[in-house]
Symmetry: C2
Subunit: 205 residues, 2 copies
């Protein structure tokens, strides 16, 4: 079975641990990670092509014109986009590709790739979410309040996701997300060719 | 989250290894196994309540009258049925329940329990299926031919299942089925109460 890869879209509250979960999925299960392009300046320690592909505004606009992104959006004055070439190439090669992306982008992806798997990561409660944001120690009270307000907005979109995964224990969470990907590969709709071949062979035997 | 348990229906070709897979799911993951009732006579080594609940025809008919089965069928002159009380009790207690059942019964279950998970087990090819039936060494050529004919009929119903799992390597197969169960528990539709509570809490915080 030389099947096409699956496209896995991971969204979730800021503070739910998306980055850590995605990193583990790539390390433990070898999934391909799509790296976004952005016009924002690199932060200390960020490497071009690892955290992001850092682009000038002109380069980014040019990529939009050439249909180079499967989705893009502006967020706090900077552009972010998902490069089309990498995703298409990996899927065609049968690799499962993970995108970490916000809600609006996820909805755009679903329109273009109806078979993509939409997963929303959350803490087990709002109190824990707030604790984690405070625990980072890097954010001011004002920023935390803003993030919590945004979480409330994002919670309105949770239902649009097919899967809700609680990141309480990291190992369990990573295992749950992987289970979703494995299960999706077993869906009848993903195995049409196999079923057809099986039937033909049963007729002929 | 005191969620209801999930009902998992496993069907598949005779020779695909349903019994072994189900046994492993119960042993490795602690799922509850529904034991069927039947009017056929116990075979050597079979224990009442383990392989089947062995019932007289009168007892069985009486149970039908009292709505004691969630599905029942006649097969080669004997009756087989899934006792309702056990399934309902386990689901209410939040336990995941496994039924090993043939295609027609599976369709009946799906009508009554729309959230049940239908999984079809298969070998990776018809040739392997035939090999396994021959390998058992217990069946005559005529019986094997009959089983293969039945497999062809059953293959027409494969598409009615949500999931197709190939039992090539047993560990992988058991892992795949478990992934399907875990993934199903993460479906948004299974987490309506959780999402509602999360939203309320985010509003209040």
């Amino acid at each position: 079975m030389n099947k096409k890869g699956q496209l896995i879209v991971i969204s979730g509250f800021s503070g739910a641990g998306k980055g850590t979960v995605v990193k583990r999925l790539v390390e433990d299960y070898g999934y391909s990670l799509s790296v976004s392009a952005t016009t924002r300046a690199p932060r200390e320690g960020e490497v071009d092509g690892r955290e992001y592909y850092f682009k000038s505004r002109e380069e980014f606009m040019n990529l939009i014109d050439y249909n180079g992104f499967i989705e893009w959006a502006m967020y706090v004055d900077n552009y972010y986009g998902t490069p089309r070439a990498f995703v298409e190439k990996e899927l065609a090669a049968g690799h499962n590709v993970i995108l970490e992306i916000e809600v609006q982008g996820a909805m755009n992806i679903k329109k273009q790739y109806p078979d993509s798997i939409l997963i929303f990561l959350t803490t087990k409660s709002a109190a824990v979410l707030k604790e984690r944001l405070i625990g980072r120690g890097t954010e001011s009270e004002a920023v935390i309040a803003k993030r919590m307000k945004r979480a409330l907005e994002e919670s309105e979109d949770m239902e649009q996701y097919e899967y809700i995964v609680v990141n309480d224990d990291l190992d369990t969470c990573v295992h749950d997300v992987n289970s979703i990907i494995v299960a999706n590969g077993c869906k009848a709709g993903e195995n049409i060719d196999f079923m057809k071949a099986m039937k033909e062979e049963l007729k002929a035997i």
